[in-house]
Symmetry: C4
Subunit: 237 residues, 4 copies
């Protein structure tokens, strides 16, 4: 089986989606990217998570040509490919993408709101508000809809170092839902878990009528102690 290790990682991450409470029915998919080989591995469309085996994971190149696999890839595949083409290189090192319709992150996306950085829980994972992309235009939806979804994500992060996809590995597409990414499929999945959790807490906070954002110096501290040059969170690897 071509790309066996990558497909096993991607299979495992997809199988965890329902266990982690992130998906209903088949509403979500995780992919992985091997930048050395130029391989993308992604969930097949419409297949229940519990039945997925590594061989069901579709292996593609960056242009979307199927290299190995019997099943049709996720309809969202063009969005994943656009993101890997933009962010899969040595600068951003994105090696995994996760797309879900998880309840609270989707509620913010449907409300067309970015997710503010309200607490240290958020700051530990996302270095600032989780941004909202612009809405897609009718002509973009009519032709190449899924690729256009990837394009508005890339566009949202372009041109501002503060908005690097490494520092804020998540965004919301209006009326649709969240995308997260990371170094590999497991990291992208972890960010989807973190995003849904901080969206829940933010929603409960907003219901209390107090939209107070975290102080800048605390946000910076939590990022730095976990992700900065002198990070001291976790074990030394």
């Amino acid at each position: 089986m071509l790309g066996a290790a990558l497909r096993e990682q991607v299979c495992q991450a997809n199988r965890e989606l329902p266990t982690l409470g992130l998906v209903t029915l088949t509403w979500g998919n995780v992919s992985g990217f091997d930048s050395d080989q130029g391989w993308v591995a992604i969930k097949p469309s419409g297949v229940p998570y519990g039945e997925l085996r590594p061989a069901d994971i579709v292996l593609l190149d960056l242009e979307g040509r199927v290299l190995d696999g019997e099943l049709r890839p996720s309809t969202d595949t063009p969005a994943h490919l656009v993101l890997y083409r933009a962010w899969g290189g040595a600068t951003e090192k994105v090696g995994g993408i996760c797309h879900t319709h998880s309840e609270l992150a989707t509620a913010f996306a449907q409300a067309r709101m970015e997710l503010p950085c309200f607490g240290t829980t958020h700051a530990d994972h996302f270095d600032g508000p989780v941004p909202l992309t612009r809405q897609l235009r009718p002509e973009e939806v009519a032709s190449g809809y899924e690729a256009a979804t990837g394009q508005v994500l890339v566009e949202r992060f372009a041109g501002s170092p503060a908005m690097s996809p490494r520092r804020i590995p998540a965004a919301l597409v209006p009326g649709h839902g969240p995308f997260t990414w990371g170094a590999d499929a497991a990291a992208a999945l972890n960010h989807a878990v973190a995003l849904e959790a901080v969206a829940k807490i933010a929603h409960a906070q907003l219901a209390l009528g107090r939209a107070i954002e975290l102080e800048e110096f605390l946000r910076a501290k939590h990022q730095q102690r976990k992700h900065g040059r002198d990070a001291y969170y976790g074990q030394i690897r």
Copy 2:
């Protein structure tokens, strides 16, 4: 056992109701319809889901005469029969119905609100708002209450192709709760799962104070890519 395959499907769908978080106590039922034979199979009244075996499922004809089964059918049976008589033919091809009191869909029904199409998650399953039927009249409740519940559902969809039960396989009965349907019992159950999930997301969105509906062109796109003539979601069957 008469209608064994149908009763097994219906038994299985009913057994999944509590697992899927759709029912409390015995508040829900799924039925199936075999249009060739004219058979309706439905849950017996007041029996716990975990104890259900296929032989407990009651087999009836379209007029409600018991063909096989020892137990009394669900009190909601007359509503199911009205729907199969109206929608069980070649036009709508309804072969399964699910009725629950699932938490959020019931909250919208009690609030006497239709469920707007707020996002692509909703559009993937329901081609427009999930409608609310009219309220039943005292005389309808006094005599033939359950059949009248079926009648207001049929009435709500009558006369408008945009409101076809195939395009919007769900509706809310005011003060009562949701009904969903589909090609068979499993499809009806899936729509009940989808309805509760989109009702949860919509409720969370409304709490954010932003009742923004999905753009028409996006709603149409999501329906078409999943259910249209050139649908490209899922695997080729």
Copy 3:
């Protein structure tokens, strides 16, 4: 073991409390009453549910004298005894009581609100709003607090047939939480499940800003078809 059957029923009902999502830590208790023998069986105080065996259940008479059992009975025992003395006879036939701090029912109790009859789900179990008792007075709390809790429950239902504990087997104590009851421990537990579920739905409905109550004729119909003289819900026993 004296009262073995009763203690087994009560043990089983208590063990189900956490499984059903009704209790946190040890916040809840179920008791049962055998009116022929005058026996009350109740959970011991502060013992984890998972460890309960029938012999741990304390057997008392209606005056609270321990007949059998090594452990101290629940601190709420005097409330249960007051209710059995008032409602354990041939008129109300209360043979089981359940007290929890379940999340939503407790929120209504803390908000000092009765739970209105907003839907048929509610009407299937409670024939009208679930009432709120009056607040206890400082002198009642200072001396005989738990018995006084039972007294305000009895007082709330006194003198009005529409408020019969058989027709509305639940009430809320302000600042405290819900009590439910029924023919036996299992029935009391079922009503606690139903109460928490309808409280959740009501809370979600109120968040939509639409406090619409169920029509009287629908409320009466649902009670009558399930509990009336010609009830046709469930199986013939």
Copy 4:
């Protein structure tokens, strides 16, 4: 293994964090303190709960010197040490600390609100509102951030007997989340469970628009019957 019994207790309490619904990913930690030996045992940083074995628990002295263990202790260790130095003695007898980012307690912390005593459920565990500490200053965050978190907790309880950490074993750090403590790791964990539960109920109550606090005489009664000199809750030990 040095401090085996303490490390087993701490390991067990940490392993229960996700089971009890208190943590997402690795967002939480429990420690224990042996005042006779001066030993602190705490979770290692960033290790999944399911994989924890007693030998992974790090054993430290009160100054933070590692006595036994291969892994790096939780980044929150300095906060725990400050609390044990202040409250680990014969007056407050704090022998366990639990820190989580549990959803509702964190929402109150992010909203910069103390958690009022709204009901008897709260009063059974916390003898008054769960307080909010002051916000940390930029210079405190820049240098010795985690120890400063412990300091604002100690500061919040200093100088008022009504605010004893024994009577109110919990507090919220603004923009961050809850800390709880108790006689040992298990007690601290229990208070974290109780805090999240009463925060959920309080949040649901506030959504009903009725911020009614529990009467003083009821709050005092519930504390006294469970924790006072003549406590009669639970079994005699």
